[in-house]
């Protein structure tokens, strides 16, 4: 059997499972054995015939040999094409499955981050609303308290109520700043989305690589470098006290 390597470019041949033509091609492989049989038969006939008549049979035998080489080459091509497609498909499945799972995980992080931050912000807004309602109520009572205290010539109740209102307002300010802290989730999700985008780009490129005819497009797709910003692949929206303590310890050394 010839060892000629088949380097014929493929024009999106599909896979053995999806292209009905493959079964037909695979069925034709025994043709090689049949040519071999014919060659052996011609050799036997040539040996049995007397001198001059054998030339025609010899020529026939050479033609058969050429046909055998051609069939052999076609067989090699076929084997190469089938194994290449199988390899590419397995490789792509292995790589893209990981990429798709990582992308899915990344997008889940975005959802979880948004969910957590939204709840935190809503809690802070509810707190703020409650504080404001208390402060308004106390402010409405101030004129009455002022009048009551005026009879004594000093304003202890009024002053106490005023202090409470100031305390409520300070509390409200704290809540407003807390909302601002929670809004940092946007910076975290932006980076999480950026990583999901990169992973999708890689999956797309590998998918394109499977179809050899689109190799240049795939190579171009492999050049994807994100939507313009850099990102931290490990970023997460979670309490940072422990991390910050570890960082502080490094700076204290």
């Amino acid at each position: 059997m010839s060892t000629t390597r088949c380097n014929t470019p493929m024009d999106s041949p599909g896979s053995p499972e999806t292209n009905p033509g493959w079964t037909e091609l695979e069925d034709s492989i025994p043709l090689f054995d049949r040519v071999k049989t014919l060659q052996n038969l011609a050799a036997s006939i040539s040996a049995d015939l007397p001198g001059g008549h054998g030339e025609l049979v010899n020529h026939f035998q050479e033609e058969l040999h050429g046909l055998s080489e051609a069939v052999n080459h076609a067989f090699n091509c076929l084997t190469w094409v089938i194994s290449t497609i199988h390899d590419r498909r397995s490789e792509w499945e292995a790589k893209t499955e990981g990429l798709i799972r990582r992308t899915e995980k990344q997008l889940s992080k975005v959802t979880a981050t948004t969910e957590t931050a939204t709840h935190q912000i809503l809690d802070a807004v509810e707190n703020l609303t409650s504080i404001q309602a208390n402060a308004i109520q106390k402010a409405r009572e101030l004129p009455t308290l002022f009048d009551q205290d005026s009879e004594q010539g000093s304003w202890p109740t009024f002053q106490s109520a005023l202090q409470q209102i100031i305390a409520e307002l300070e509390n409200a300010q704290g809540n407003a700043f807390q909302i601002m802290d929670y809004l940092q989730f946007q910076d975290i999700t932006a980076q999480q989305i950026e990583q999901a985008y990169i992973l999708l780009g890689e999956a797309e490129a590998k998918l394109i690589l499977v179809t050899m005819a689109l190799r240049p497009v795939a190579q171009a797709a492999l050049g994807i470098r994100g939507i313009g910003s850099t990102y931290d692949a490990n970023t997460e929206y979670a309490p940072t006290e422990e991390k910050q303590k570890q960082i502080d310890a490094l700076f204290e050394k």
Binding site: L183, F185, I188, Y237, T240, K243, I247
Partner: protein, 125 residues
């Protein structure tokens, strides 16, 4: 009100707004913003600053390169730098320290942490 002139560098407009608001709440009103290291360097060359707060992950020029560049410039090398970033891996923190940052905060942060780190930086001065 503090007389510090602060250069605030972050590519996220939301983060710049949060940081600027937090700094103002702490009494630092003189804040100039830049969205990446390159823009920050331009501003640093054009104006005087006493303090830099910078993110790490940015386009054009990231925070680490920016810090290294600042530390190589004789006029700006002495300006204290606080890095505020999502990066919390130990090797990242060590790399930032080697680059010359004076302190490091991991996002999301609280105004208390920001206050403590700024005070710590200026207590060393």
């Amino acid at each position: 009100m503090s007389s510090l002139r602060i250069l605030l560098v972050d590519d996220s407009p939301t983060m710049r707004r949060i940081l600027a608001n937090s700094l103002k709440h702490l009494g630092y009103d003189d804040i100039i913003e830049a969205e990446n290291g390159r823009e920050a360097l331009d501003k640093l060359h054009a104006e005087q600053f006493n303090f830099i707060v910078t993110d790490w992950n940015m386009t054009e020029m990231d925070g680490l390169t920016f810090v290294k560049t600042v530390k190589e410039e004789s006029d700006a090398a002495a300006i204290p730098i606080l890095m505020v970033t999502t990066r919390s891996q130990q090797e990242d923190v060590v790399e930032a320290m080697r680059a010359g940052v004076n302190n490091y905060i991991v996002k999301p942060f609280t105004p208390q942490t920001l206050k403590q780190k700024i005070e710590a930086i200026f207590a060393q001065k």
